[in-house]
Amino acid sequence: MSEHVVVAPLVVALVTAILTLGTRRYPRGQRAVSLLGIGAYAVAVLALASRVVPLGVLTGSGGTTETLTYQVSNWPAPFGISLVADALSAFMLVLAVAVVVPALVFSALYVEEFAQRVSYHSLFHFMLAGVTGAFLTGDIFNLFVWFEVMLMPSYVLVVFYGRAEHTRAALQYTVLNLLGSAVMLVAIGGIYATVGTLNMADIARRLAHAGEFGIDPAPVLGLGAILFAVFALKAGIVPFQFWVPAAYRAAPAPIAAVMAGVTKKVGIYAIIRLLFTVFGTATVGGGLAPARIAEGLGFGMAGKSFLGLFGPVLFLMAIGSILLGGLGAVSRNDLDDILAYSSIGQVGFIVLALALAATGPQAVRTAGLIAALVYSLNHAIAKSALFLISGTVYEAVGSIRFDALGGLSTRRPILASSFFLGGIALVGIPPLTGFFGKLLVFDTAGKAIVAGEPFAGVALIVALAGAVLTIAYVSRAWNRAFWGSPSDPVTRSYQPTALVAVVAAFVLLVAVLGIGFDPVYRAAEAAAHAATDRTEYVEAVAPEVIG
């Protein structure tokens, strides 16, 4: 019960945030606390992850994954709030660590002194606490709270550097997310009213045995769809992507890195958790009309499961995201802009894998989830690294607009090589992690085709089109910014050595994890199994029954 290792990452992030608030008068102390805090956070996450997914699982030498639970305030589930650390949560937490550690180190060197003291570190750690809480919690209202904890700092961090366009971006971002929060409350309230509980494991169990609990699961599908929409808003999937480009461009580089790398993945995580763990086996009596239509169109398999609705929805959203992100990115004239649009498209690939997972038979489902997770990991690392590189370019040159860049590859070869590595990881060149992401998405589509899902062919074509668009915009960014004759600003640029060192070390991860892909795959596999194993999840939380 008192497995404090589960709550440790969250407590560390919270305490660090509070300490950085308390040390605002001592800038050096504050920075030291912040950096130590992120180190402690990394240790806490790794300790948790190694408990949940033992090393043996990663090396393939045996061992089994565990699902750890923790009842905050010592009240039993489902009455108290449960924290659940299974392989999926652990995977996402480690992904977060991979991004936030370099991002914070980068920030300490990059964000100006004054800004760091005002609030930067506290906001950063609160945001991290929100992310951590969202990954760990097993309670939907608590999820709302941690979403808010994550969003509140992100609002102001978007507008951190005050300029007209930043303010505009923040206004849009804030208003859309406030609407999202209100909508989320409605969904949570509705689910509570119809299912009678807030605990995710309990919801899953009650939905699976609706009759015993006297529940009519029918309304839950619609309410769940509302909840899903809120998650999609966080993940920036079409048609909820509107805030993404402006917000990412406005945010300081390390914040854009964390938002694209981590907070977006919170949305993805929540979608996986909701659709596959909580709703995975939920069915409604009577006919699911779209499911029947889908049946006619060949989406088949899911039958009357909730996924019968979400599969096609995810599919359409994925297609929209891939095309919109790709076509948006390809003509932009500014590094951050390209990266922001690109992140819409890249998340589309993740969602595409999820769509295939939602509609396909079990083998395709597992493959799709693994693909989505591996793709998420690559996107987190590569995209965050690219945002940091863009920040470094800004620091060195004073602009990230193409018309002011050019010739960086001769002037700043290490920085340029870092961008190149990150860029081709996005494209999916082997043996980088991005390749495995694409590979597994394609493989899932291939499996679905062999399994006789006609729409899988469309998925494959869209994925190929998206990949071609990725080549187009990455190569264009490279040509415009890094090749060519050095522009005046580039000629006058200086070498921010420490920043370059951070980004170079960070971006190497895409190669290291690609070449040593085996443990990554096994981790994703364990996470995918955890995501679909509702029984294990429910049994680990073991919500009690009254009456």
Partner: protein, 800 residues
């Protein structure tokens, strides 16, 4: 004999390791780094050479979880390619030592060239589809970097991007083909495997694989996908367009990557897959693709004025020849492909190096500005003669024999299949005529009159001269082997080696031999026609070239029409930023709200939610009044004539909500709401004090549209409330809190399993769900910091 794992691994690893140290080593060695590269290539060549005669697979595990290994397979085909790559590598590195003398970016150049060589060796030996793909894409990436070597030139950038675009995208198609094969292998072999060659691989079970592919209806798609990958890499029509642009690279790169080795990867792939997929469909796809390319590219070569461009089109054309050979199912087809890979590598690399010498020493690459160079460059001229005549397919030079084989193969197929298949030999001859024409035209730059504009041309340094001489000598020896074989003296080792290649591409029990024609065979007649027509047409070369030029100036026929159109559109399109991401919050909010509403409604509809029957509308009259006032207040807010009026009515709404909470037995909420509402009012007044009065009169159509959106949202919420209040879940968890919040009648001195407070709401907040509260107070603290930050950070920091 089994190949040696250690030897192979070292041969493959050495180039990569060398690449890793090259940037540092360059600081020590400077220009001499070229010879370091040559030495590395020589080491690889020697190591691979020791494996001649072996056959089999060695496996190094890589990703056991996916059953992917770096399996290396040795047979004739992989040895052929491996030896070409490392052997020509030696010569190219040596040549570069002279050629790159004055060029920028040498450290990057040699590093990339070494990486490329390693990757190409990987392509040659990989037995696993995934490993093959890894190396395959690495060659594309190194090609990108090398084509863009002169990175400040717009042409180089264009060329590099185009090459990357086409080869990497083509690779993705191929990857899909590989994955389909992988999935199918699960049906065919029991367990899914990426293993292509070697024991337990797909080729060994070709029959079962074909059957499984067919029953899944995937045979043709897989062949097509692999064809796209191969065509992209080997510059087959219509994906050939990147190759002429790739000539922007330094000449050693053109010779190495874009004629002798990298472009051979696609051809190699076709050869490798031949034993697995060779069927009538296969024959149709690749014979057609190959012959089309052979002809079209040869025609385009005739129109070229730049010698490197001519050679580039010629390369595409010859690769087409090889593909056509591998496409044909007869043993002659296999022999054509196998033998021509070798011949082409020898003569084309030599020609490129010659072109490099000419460009380097004469300062131009335009045929129209060159001529009569043999006086200044006699050795180069001799090399060019041997190589170009081989390219033309003139006996007794090496290219002649492989072209004879192609003719033989097409005639064989036509004789057996009849009908339209007779087009094959016709097209082969037709294309070959153009090959003859441009080959002679290339050679002509050494003969005839030297243009006045051309100054004295220096002879090249030895490092640049020796490599083409070696290549031409080898080409010459291969050619002479055919002559001597006519008299019974065979070039045994070579013929034996080609035998093994032929075997590797799927012919059983081959007996390869080549010699000059000794009787009037159809192939000999076709050769005679080719040469005869070519010789007759050559005097009209200028006219033919200008006809072709006029033809390819017509847009739909222009080779780059489609690529430039597509990429140009992509680079400028505002389809997203102009129509979707408009920057208008209104649009964004409409999409968000409508999407949420439609998701919810779709959910209700598809779950078949039945609206609850409303028997009677029982409602507390007080509540009805309060809510009615709230609605009126909200309405008034929307119609408020000023900000102040709006805020005041807004707070009326807030106070009504507070009263509602009282009626709903929620005193804590009511208190909080009341006080918060006051604070909000104060805050609004403070801020509004500084804002301009702005009412934004609403125009009618917009109001209607917004009204419709609002109505949809309203109806969705209405339904949601109706449906969810009708729910009667058993055992709601709230009961637990009611029971456990208080203090039980009997208790000890400490109480842990009860809340111990009378106010259940407060006990939930500070105990049962204190975790929520912890998050919530964090939000409040952050709201405060955020407000401070908003104010104190304005006008600060980065401006973009």
């Amino acid at each position: 004999m089994q190949p040696s794992q250690g030897t192979l691994v070292v041969a493959l690893a050495v180039p990569f390791l060398a690449a890793a140290v090259t940037p540092l080593l360059y600081r020590v060695l400077g220009e001499r780094i070229a010879y370091f590269g040559a030495a590395i290539a020589a080491v690889a060549f020697a190591l691979i050479g020791t494996q001649i005669g072996t056959h089999g697979t060695v496996t190094i595990p890589w990703i056991p979880a996916l059953d992917v290994s770096l399996a290396l397979y040795v047979d004739g085909l992989s040895l052929l390619l491996g030896l070409i790559v490392s052997g020509i590598g030696i010569l190219i590195f040596t040549y570069s030592g002279g050629y790159m003398h004055d060029e920028p970016g040498k450290a990057k150049f040699y590093t990339t060239l070494l990486v490329f060589m390693g990757a190409m060796l990987g392509v040659a030996f990989a037995a696993d589809l995934l490993a093959l793909f890894v190396f395959w894409e690495l060659t594309s990436v190194s090609s990108f970097v090398l084509i863009g070597h002169y990175q400040d030139q717009a042409d180089s950038q264009y060329a590099a991007r185009k090459a990357m675009f086409i080869t990497v995208a083509g690779g993705l198609f191929m990857l899909v083909g590989f994955l389909l094969l992988y999935t199918i292998s699960g049906d065919a072999l029991g367990t899914a495997t990426f293993r292509l060659a070697g024991s337990g691989g797909m080729i060994e079970n070709a029959g079962a694989m074909q059957e499984a592919l067919r029953s899944a209806g995937l045979f043709v798609p897989v062949v097509a996908l692999i064809a796209i990958g191969a065509a992209a890499k080997s510059a087959q029509v219509p994906l050939h367009i990147w190759l002429p642009n790739a000539m922007e690279a330094p000449t050693p790169v053109s010779a190495f990557l874009h004629s002798a080795t990298m472009v051979k990867a696609g051809v190699y792939l076709v050869g490798r897959f031949r034993p697995l997929l060779s069927t009538p469909e296969w024959e149709l796809v690749f014979a057609a693709l190959g012959l089309l390319t052979m002809t079209v590219a040869a025609i385009l070569a005739v129109a070229a004025d730049d010698i490197k461009e001519l050679l580039a089109y010629s390369t595409a054309s010859h690769l087409g020849l090889i593909i056509a050979g591998f496409g044909l199912q007869s043993v002659y087809g296999a022999e054509t492909g196998a033998f021509h890979i070798l011949n082409h590598a020898l003569f084309k690399a030599a020609l490129f190096l010659v072109a490099g010498i000419v460009a380097h020493e004469a300062g131009t690459r335009l045929l129209s500005e060159l001529g009569g160079l043999w006086r200044d460059l006699p050795i180069t001229a001799a090399v060019a003669a041997i190589a170009a005549l081989g390219m033309a397919g003139l006996p007794p030079f090496n290219g002649f024999y492989s072209k004879e084989l192609l003719f033989e193969a097409t005639v064989y197929t036509a004789e057996h299949a009849g009908g339209l298949w007779w087009l094959l030999p016709a097209v082969a001859v037709f294309g070959s005529i153009f090959t003859f024409l441009y080959s002679i035209r290339f050679l002509s730059l050494f003969f005839g009159e030297k243009p006045d504009a051309l100054e004295h041309v220096h002879s090249p340094p030895l490092t640049m001269l020796a490599p083409p001489v070696v290549l031409a000598a080898l080409a010459g020896i291969v050619g002479l082997g055919g002559v001597s074989a006519t008299f019974g003296v065979h070039l045994g080792p070579l013929e034996h080696f080609v035998d093994r290649v032929v075997e590797a591409v799927g012919a059983t029990d081959p007996h390869f031999g080549y010699h000059l024609p000794t009787s009037v065979t159809p192939a000999a007649v076709m050769s005679a026609i080719t040469i005869g027509v070519g010789a007759v047409a050559y005097p009209s070369y200028g006219r033919i070239a200008s006809v072709i030029e006029r033809l390819i100036a017509i847009d739909p026929l222009r080779p780059n029409f489609y690529y430039d159109g597509l990429v140009g559109w992509l680079d400028r399109t505002t389809i997203v930023s102009g129509t979707v991401q408009t920057g208008r919050l209104r649009t964004y909010a409409i999409w968000l709200l409508l999407a949420v509403a439609s998701l919810a409604l779709a959910g209700y509809a598809s779950a078949g939610v039945v609206l609850p029957a409303v028997s009677s509308i029982v409602a507390d009259p007080a509540m009805v009044i309060v809510l009615a006032v709230a609605i009126v207040a909200a309405l008034a807010v929307t119609r408020a004539p000023s900000h102040i009026a709006g805020v005041l009515t807004l707070s009326i709404l807030g106070f009504m909500v507070a009263i509602f909470y009282i009626l709903a037995s929620a005193p804590d909420l009511a208190l909080t709401q009341l006080v918060i509402e006051t604070l909000v009012l104060v805050l609004f007044l403070l801020v509004l004090d500084k804002l301009p009065e702005f009412y934004g009169e609403v125009d009618r159509t917009r109001a209607l549209r917004d009204g419709a959106v609002s109505a949809v949202v309203g109806v969705t919420v209405f339904l949601t409330v109706l449906i969810s209040t009708a729910g009667t879940p058993g055992q709601p968890i709230a009961q637990y809190f009611i029971e456990r919040a208080g203090v039980p009648a009997d208790h000890g001195s400490t109480l842990l399993d009860f809340g111990g407070g009378g106010n259940i709401v407060n006990v939930i907040l500070v105990d049962f769900r204190a975790f929520d509260t912890m998050g919530e107070i964090s939000v409040i603290a952050m709201a405060a910091i955020s407000v401070i930050t908003l104010i104190s950070m304005r006008e600060r920091g980065e401006s973009q």
